[in-house]
């Protein structure tokens, strides 16, 4: 399986929970990409593709890890979820997603969200190949970084392990 080239990592000690990553994620995925329109006019409004986890003084934003072994892709009933072989990102084809929420149960990070108004699952798409995702670009504190993580695999995303040697 293609390994993601880059992932968004959280430099947790310096995250102060300002929610700007959330705001800019939502803006990036809006139709207008205009701050005022996106938040005050668009309906239904797009959901942010990440969540802020907060328990003072610990804050961090959590998003899709683009797992090497992606349960969500394997579980998707319609074939809407797939891996973009260029960026390594796990992406949802909204044309094909029917909002059955099967992927949501299989994500160990709880990072796929049900958009109940549009009947679509939504998740981080690494801003579709952008050089720097919006959340990282607008983080005022460098609490988010976009880095090559090599073959670093989340512990909880294993699928077929243990592999017999």
């Amino acid at each position: 399986m293609h390994t993601p080239v880059k992932r968004v990592l959280v430099n947790e000690p310096v995250c102060m929970g300002c929610h700007l990553c959330e705001v800019y994620c939502q803006l990036q995925h809006s139709r207008s990409t205009d701050l005022i329109k996106a938040f005050k006019k668009e309906s239904p409004r797009q959901l942010p593709r990440l969540r802020i986890e907060a328990r003072n003084p610990v804050f961090f934003s959590l998003r899709c890890q683009h797992c090497t072994e992606s349960h969500c892709i394997y579980a998707c009933l319609t074939g809407a979820l797939s891996r973009n072989t260029d960026t390594g990102a796990v992406i949802i084809d909204e044309e094909k997603c029917t909002g059955c929420w099967t992927c949501i149960i299989t994500c160990p990070y709880g990072s796929i969200r049900p958009d109940t108004l549009r009947h679509k699952s939504v998740k981080c798409d690494l801003c579709q190949g952008a050089e720097t995702p919006a959340c990282v670009l607008h983080c005022p504190n460098e609490a988010l970084v976009y880095e090559d993580t090599g073959d670093r695999e989340g512990k909880v995303s294993r699928v077929e392990a243990p592999v017999l040697k």
């Binding site: 430099n11 579980a75 990070y109 709880g110 699928v159 077929e160 017999l164």
Partner: protein, 442 residues
């Protein structure tokens, strides 16, 4: 007659399991020939989407499970509309209905399930259908008209899916369920009641504790006009859908001498009793990590995963199936319910924690502090975190109430737990000098 072409991999079945295997094979082996045989006349499509097809008449292209160029790009030969009728283990060949013989080095049986049709009088009349394939959905689509009355026999997943689709098409539907509640194999009483209430609010009539004993049709036209229940009650209808369940299509395996119990028995590498022959999907009895034994769990995600493991092993990459279990996400008339594992304790050592507020209902079933099942109704967004803890059999005894709290999120877990589980999302921190010194002193 055996064809001259040498097929390294032969896959019988072209749905989630077969595709899962083919994709895994191509990750390890880009060149050896793969042939997929399917008795259905189209490329792989999303079987669960047949209810969407029936409800909205969505075009076939939208139902394709993989892009149209999938087979060509992956170097897979698809023989669609061809039924495999026999396999010869000694000669390593499969015989198709049209007489063709296809050889193999590695074989995968991903033949799925077929609907159970009980011997009810009148089951062959015009207007009686099953609902597991696109062909079924197409036949129903052609037959139904707005305003017709339908009786759905069986209140399980398939029965309720077809009910919603028919209601959306303007039919009046009555579900007849033999047991005391609908969805009784995946939900407990409370969640079943929530689902039933949602259906009833949307115009569905539900009759429980009864069976259909006869389907009555006009003598001259053979068109049905009613069903008779076991208490002699008649229900007028023009359409009947038999949705009692599916059984594994094990015939070609058992005739070849492959070990079959309720489904084809496979080990943790998804191999059958015969080396070189693998099986996956709705046709198998594969490892269930909650029950600790092999079980038939005919659901899409398990089919794909089992196929993936089979494919790796067939291609020479030794891989073990971590196991699956019952896992369902259902959404009828907007009401979302997720469930996994068992919905009630299997013995007296089990423990249950629940919370309910209107239609939001959460239930965990634990054994020895570890999750063996859960049900989330109404608010399902965080159920993936719960399923992850269940899959990894994390001991959650110390914080089980937290898991069903309204405001539950990752950070509600004890810090060592979320730090470990989210390790991949954090930028590794430099080890502080002080820590190094302390370590050195030890």
């Amino acid at each position: 007659m055996t064809e001259a072409r040498h097929n390294h991999y032969l896959i019988i079945g072209n749905s989630a399991g077969g595709i899962g295997a083919a994709e895994a094979i191509r990750e390890c082996d880009k060149t050896s020939p793969i042939t997929i045989v399917s008795d259905e006349p189209y490329p792989a499509y999303s079987r669960p989407l047949i209810s969407e097809y029936l409800a909205t008449k969505c075009p076939l292209e939208r139902m394709l499970y993989r892009p149209p160029d999938f087979y060509e790009k992956s170097g897979i030969r698809l023989l669609s509309g061809r039924t495999a009728v026999r396999i010869d283990i000694k000669d390593q060949t499969a015989e198709l209905e049209d007489g063709a013989e296809i050889n193999w080095d590695k074989l995968l049986l991903a033949t799925g399930g077929s609907p159970i049709v009980p011997p009810i009088d009148g089951r062959k009349s015009t207007g009686v259908f099953t609902f597991t394939t696109l062909a079924d959905a197409r036949a129903i689509d052609k037959f139904i008209k707005k305003g017709m009355r339908a009786v759905v026999i069986g209140g399980g997943l398939i029965g309720v899916s077809v009910t919603e689709a028919l209601e959306r098409r303007g039919l009046k539907v009555t579900i007849v369920e033999m047991k005391d509640r609908i969805l009784n194999t995946i939900l407990d009483e409370t969640a079943s009641a929530i689902a039933a209430e949602t259906l009833e609010k949307n115009g569905v009539k539900i009759i429980t504790n009864h069976t259909v004993t006869e389907i009555n049709s006009e003598f001259t036209t053979d068109r049905i006009h009613a069903v008779t229940l076991d208490d002699s009650r008649g229900i007028s209808c023009e359409v009947v859908i038999i949705a009692i369940g599916v059984r594994p299509r094990t015939e070609i395996a058992s005739e070849a001498g492959i070990r079959v119990n309720r489904g084809i028995v496979v080990n943790r590498t998804m191999m059958t009793s015969h080396p070189g022959i693998y099986a996956c999907g709705d046709v198998v009895e594969a490892y269930d990590f909650i029950h600790g034994e092999n079980r038939v769990t005919p659901i899409w995600p398990n089919a794909y995963l089992g196929g993936r493991v089979a494919g790796f092993n067939m291609a020479g990459r030794p891989t073990v199936y971590a196991g699956g279990t019952a896992l369902n996400s259902i959404k009828y008339f907007g009401m979302a319910i997720t469930s996994a594992g068992v919905f009630a304790p299997v013995d007296s050592t089990g423990e249950v924690v629940t919370t309910k507020n209107g239609e939001v209902y959460r239930k965990l079933i634990l054994k020895n502090g570890r999750l063996s099942g859960f049900i989330f109704c109404g608010d399902i967004e965080r159920s993936g975190i719960i399923y992850g803890l269940m899959r990894d059999q994390v001991n959650v005894a110390g914080y089980k109430q937290t898991l069903i709290a309204d405001e539950f999120s990752y950070i509600s877990l004890p810090e060592p737990v979320w730090r470990e589980r989210l390790a991949s999302t954090f930028k590794p921190q430099p080890v502080e000098a002080e820590t190094v010194k302390v370590e050195a002193l030890r």
